[in-house]
């Protein structure tokens, strides 16, 4: 029942590779702890929100102050460790008096619902005294978790899917239900945990939550053996995938990352609330070029994502649109189990009804996606090649008979991307540039996953804007692990989309592959390193091309 148990869980999850073992460890944790601690554990593990109370820099300064420790020495250590919370944890070792460990039985709940909130109410001086006090009274084993929670950097290699699986196994209820229960806002409490593990399924309770998203897989050759008429074709937009929900009159916008983003897009919420029916739509949010009727670049959308309560000026400058792909629920009736082609009929029917019957004009912010009708597969390919012209990434191909299940279900939805030779890779080394780029780190090496290891697969130095280069340079200096002459090895944290023209086997590279003209095409700030591609993905890519 203690923070100590959670620290152990963290240590275990951190050192176990096998998914099954992780599930087992999680199950045992849930079984042996009380509901409130379990709900906090889920809250932290799913990364729902871990708001930072103080910055890593603050933590380091504080340590330096309290223990009269040279700042430069902490900074040197940081270069090696790459994580402020961990550096301070390592430096705190044997520093505090072990006889004073009064808090050896503090629960996760106590820490998160009492201690931390109390800390946040203190002024700076009191806060510093209290953190010192906590360091001295918490057992050393708990320092890492405590420091990570303080600095909002708690992260561990566990996906929501894994949590879902372990709870599903724990109570023997289908993953879909657990997944749905975990969607949306999760407020840690006894109730929220009880709700999660409730063996009685009551769909009413899921009312405020989005459905688990159905995701497309990368296209496979075997699809071309099927009749083109079995599929529905849509453009693949590069926006924010979203469920637009209106239930009991209330509109909510849920991203695939399960964030409620109503505040960022108030004009959409407002307009949609005029529609008389209740519904759940699956679709994409974009910044829209109304003149040419195509999407603007993703970078414009970025200007809207993180801005809450955007001014009227911003709303006009970056006009948004919601393009619906699918209708999942209508007036309380869950229609995910009916075939896609029939759902499409419903979608079209309701859309035209709403266009006519809604008092305010909704078509300047909401439409349904156009379908494409290729004659045959070569024609589909032609469409795909044209997708750059309308600023889409290719095609989405959906089986007309598919029901709306959840996750990356195989064999029903595919993405057919215009340039398949792209991989999301992790930045691991940087080297100083020369000439105009002297003094900046502009030559980058990128890595792909191989099991738990990141293997270098390409170097690139073009594709970023000058502003991005400067920003990245600043980050590189702060996140260097080691220096080898002009090269710095970096904390694996940044993910970039790397595009290239050719991919082939190479014995000269550790990765076993060589790519031609690699370049950075996108800084994927929205992705964590676990979302980066693996070497296996690269090999698949190679197979597909040859």
């Amino acid at each position: 029942m203690s923070l100590k148990k959670f620290s152990e869980l963290f240590g275990d999850l951190d050192s176990i590779n096998s998914t099954n073992n992780k599930i087992e460890v999680l199950k045992n944790y849930f079984l042996s702890n009380d509901p409130i601690d379990n709900s906090w554990a889920i809250y932290l593990l799913t990364g729902k929100r871990n708001k930072r109370l103080i910055s890593g820099r603050y933590l380091k300064n504080l340590f330096s102050q309290i223990y009269d420790y040279p700042q430069w020495l902490i900074d040197t250590c940081y270069l090696k460790v790459g994580d402020s919370a961990e550096v301070i944890t390592l430096l705190l070792k044997n520093k505090t008096n072990s006889r004073k460990k009064k808090l050896s039985n503090i629960s996760l709940n106590e820490l998160l619902s009492e201690t931390i909130p109390a800390l946040s109410k203190l002024n700076e001086e009191e806060k510093n005294v209290e953190i010192k006090n906590l360091w001295e009274t918490l057992p050393e084993d708990n320092h890492l978790i405590f420091n990570k929670i303080l600095t909002g950097t708690f992260r561990v290699g566990v996906s929501i899917g894994l949590i879902t699986k372990s709870i599903s196994k724990l109570i023997n209820i289908e993953e879909e239900i657990i997944s749905h229960r975990l969607m949306g806002d999760f407020k840690p409490s006894i109730d929220s945990y009880q709700f999660l593990i409730n063996k009685n399924i009551n769909l009413q309770e899921l009312n405020s939550k989005p459905f688990p998203f159905l995701l497309a897989n990368t296209i496979e050759d075997k699809i071309f053996e099927n009749s083109i008429n079995d599929f529905q074709f849509e453009w693949k937009y590069d926006g924010i995938r979203m469920q637009l929900i209106k239930r009991s009159g209330n509109v909510s916008l849920w991203t695939r990352g399960q964030e409620l983003v109503n505040e960022s897009f108030p004009e959409l919420v407002e307009k949609m609330s005029h529609i008389k029916d209740d519904f759940v739509l699956d679709g994409e949010l974009l910044v829209w070029n109304f003149k040419e009727q195509i999407a603007f670049d993703f970078s414009l959308l970025q200007k809207r994502i993180n801005r809450k309560s955007p001014t009227r000026t911003i709303q006009i400058k970056y006009p948004i649109i919601f393009i619906a792909y699918d209708l999942l629920e209508i007036n309380g009736r869950d229609i995910r189990e009916i075939k896609l082609e029939n759902r499409r009929i419903e979608l079209e029917k309701y859309f035209s009804k709403w266009q006519i019957k809604t008092e305010n004009n909704i078509s300047d912010i909401f439409k349904i996606c156009d379908l494409i009708f290729p004659k045959d597969w070569p024609d589909a390919l032609t469409y795909k090649e044209k997708s750059r012209e309308n600023n889409t990434e290719g095609l989405i191909i959906k089986k007309k008979t598919s029901i709306y299940s959840s996750g990356r279900k195989k064999g029903i939805w595919w993405k057919y991307k215009v340039d398949p030779m792209q991989l999301d890779a992790v930045l691991i080394y940087a080297k100083g540039g020369s000439g105009r780029r002297a003094g900046l780190y502009t030559d980058y090496s990128f890595a792909l996953w191989k099991d738990k290891e990141l293997i270098k697969f390409a170097s690139a130095y073009s594709g970023l804007t000058n502003i991005e280069i400067k920003e990245l340079d600043k980050w590189i200096r702060k996140n260097t692990i080691e220096k080898f002459g002009p090269v710095r090895s970096l904390k694996p944290e940044m993910v970039f989309e790397i595009s290239f023209e050719k991919i082939q086997i190479s014995n000269r590279h550790k990765s076993g592959i060589a790519v031609r003209f690699p370049r950075i095409t996108k800084w994927r700030k929205d992705k964590k390193i676990n979302d980066a591609d693996s070497l296996e993905n690269a090999y698949e890519l190679m197979k597909k091309i040859s």
Partner: protein, 328 residues
Amino acid sequence: MRTKQEYLIRYKDGNLYCELADIWIDPSKPVKKALITHAHFDHFTFGCEEYISTKETAILLKERVGDNIKIKTFEYGEEFKINGINISFHPSGHILGSSQIRFIFAEEKWLISGDFKLQKDQTCKPYEIVKTDYLISECTFGLPIFKWDESNKIANDISKWITNSPEKTSLLFCYSLGKAQRLLNEISQTNFKGNIYSHGSIHKMNNSYREIGIDIKDTIKIENKKKIDELKGSLILLPPSLSKGSYLKNFKNIQTAFASGWMSIRALRKRSGYDKGFAISDHADWDGILEVVKKSEAKNVFFHHGDSEALSKYLVEKESINVLLFGK
């Protein structure tokens, strides 16, 4: 202040060299006369005309590279003279036979720490505090983030790691000389009572330790074709060089771990590719290095084998100890 050339011991071609005695310390290339601090391969090279070491180191070296090397041995503390310089070996606590080497010439004392640790290790003599004017010390772990836990705590962690996965074969990677024997000694005192296997290279070293009179728990030499069931729940000690190749295909349902001081850092643990890391080292941690520097009463200190920048700055600023730079 003397120039670098005037020091009794200095760096020459990347190695420690005493010109007056024309003798090298742990040279990385063949020379006429080499003092060897211990039998790890990065402190030893083939082809020297004459080697000088402790008795234990000589036995281990011969076991590793064969009998046909010319090697002169001395006891710990026994002084011998080369060109008027008094030289002696003193225990450094790193592995069996490992030593610090002291030079005394014209009433000036020099001490080469060799690789050393202060932590408990029942498989070798403990570090001996030796007073000196000049200290040449290693600083492999010369940052304050490195603070070792007691070795019995680590051994208990290892024991738990194995017994918590009774269905698995636990592969623990560690250096075959020194670390492996220390681990065996510690693990045999924990609750883990299952079978322990070791790779040939480790097995060989275990035998040498026993010959020298160090009690090392019996292990079974691992054969390539062992039945999977037989290995379930047991521990296998392997050298790190086998962790990356196809060797692991000999086993099924395994968990792997690496025993090394570097494993105290999460990022290094993650990058290492092992499931788990146990932070146990035969080198001194930060506090250990500081303690040796202080207790040696050296007025001047040189560092090598590691990142010495921070450590040097710290000693100069906080302890007012003169840290000198070797011209490499």
